[in-house]
């Protein structure tokens, strides 16, 4: 095999531009996805049966269809709804919607697994459902949620590469551009893998530090 090191020296800085875009998309979609997912997760634990059903249906749809299809639906669907936001925002929205579905499940599962005696004790002092969630169950769920949420964020970061299909100039797309002009697919894809690996390892590390810092009782 004949690895072309000169190409890698040339490509590495070029890929930085794509890396910045990937990080930007990842960050914005992570914030939106986490916020949306937490809200959905709480609604799925809340007191309105119709809302609970709708959230379940949404989560089912997100988990039961390929992300690639969801991206195309958002990309072609937004203009139909009169929203011309460009491929960046289409991509961010698609990833956020997808991430929110998975985060909702994590929130529902973790909050639901807090010991039943906690809810009963809170009921016995007259708390209603919303207060029990807010003051008793959620605070006890933060730490156990961290590992599962980290997984969802890792998946989100990997999924940003799919946005190359709607021409978002993120890391994968920037690599493909180099491949198209120089035809060195193996070198570039290997380089891309290393870039992603470094980004995701840093995230995992940060999450472990965060988990250690969160209080446990």
């Amino acid at each position: 095999m004949n690895f072309d090191w000169a190409i890698i020296q040339m490509a590495a800085p070029l890929l930085l531009q794509g890396t910045m875009m990937t990080l930007k998309i990842g960050a914005v979609a992570a914030v939106l996805g986490l916020a949306g997912g937490i809200v959905l997760g709480l609604l799925s634990l809340g007191g309105w049966p119709l809302v609970r059903f709708l959230v379940r249906a949404y989560v089912d749809f997100i988990r039961g269809t390929p992300l690639l299809i969801q991206i195309f639906i958002v990309f072609f669907g937004l203009p139909v709804m009169g929203l011309r936001l460009g491929e960046f925002w289409a991509g961010v929205i698609a990833l956020s919607l997808n991430c929110a579905g998975y985060v909702a499940e994590v929130v529902r599962g973790t909050v639901g697994s807090v010991e039943k005696g906690q809810t009963e004790a809170a009921m016995s002092i007259g708390m209603t459902r919303g207060k029990i969630l807010m003051y008793i169950l959620l605070p006890q769920s933060f730490r156990p949620m961290v590992p599962a949420l980290t997984n969802d964020l890792i998946t989100l970061l990997k999924n940003t590469s799919l946005l190359s299909v709607i021409s978002v100039y993120e890391l994968t797309r920037s690599g493909q551009a180099i491949i198209a002009s120089h035809f060195v697919p193996l070198e570039i894809f290997t380089l891309l893998a290393i870039y992603y690996y470094v980004i995701i390892s840093s995230l995992s590390y940060a999450s472990r530090v965060l988990e250690r810092r969160l209080p446990q009782w």
């Binding site: 005696g117 009963e120 004790a121 009921m123 007259g126 209603t128």
Partner: protein, 263 residues
Amino acid sequence: MNAKTVRTPLLSVRDLRKSFGDREILKGISFDLMAGETMVLIGPSGSGKTTVLRCLNHLEEPSGGAVMLDGETVGGSFIGTGGAFVPAGARELAEQRRKFGFVFQRFNLFPHLTAVQNVAIGPRKVLGLSRAEAEARAERELNRVSLADHMHKRPSQLSGGQQQRVAIARALAMEPSLILFDEPTSALDPELVQEVLDVMRELALEGMTMIVVTHEMTFARQVADRLIFMADGYIVEEGAPEDIFTAPRQEKTQNFLKHVLHR
């Protein structure tokens, strides 16, 4: 008691029933409780003691019968005389539930909160007291259960006996009409039992209305104003503790007492 001093009971329980699936666990429980009375509920394991307490404050939805606290039907109301039963909304039920203090066998303290926060959270979030008022009240109640020195510890830093006393303070802080105790000392190491019983005895002396499920027969004998013996979902015998301990009338009661007193 003459006509002028006839008092209405604080709590009236009428034909309370509870089934889990097709197993009937409570088969029609009725009793009255006067304000200031301490009632002790004893009976073999599985007889339905916990279920009675949980049905009183609707932690468990009764399958039939009525619980009246201070003239108000808990968990719903009847419209007009002999009218239809309308179940209470969640908010109304929560409001009624806080009039029953509940002390759990396994304490069920909130592990993320300190002792004082455990006690203050109800007054603060349910009764709407300011933070300072709620904490002042929490400190007062923790003092009452002799935990002034442990206000700022989390449950995991407290012994079982201390945790249970925090739980009692948490119930007291809601200023309940009565407190239900479900075997408050059975999860404790033997040397920690007495400190909890002492707090309960003190409350009884101060005139708190209480229903206590317990296997502590000495406590029952000394503190109860009235004793109820339950078996198989029925009240088998009811009366002054001294009478029941010395001269039980029912055979089931005799057998049970023989079993628990001669161990």
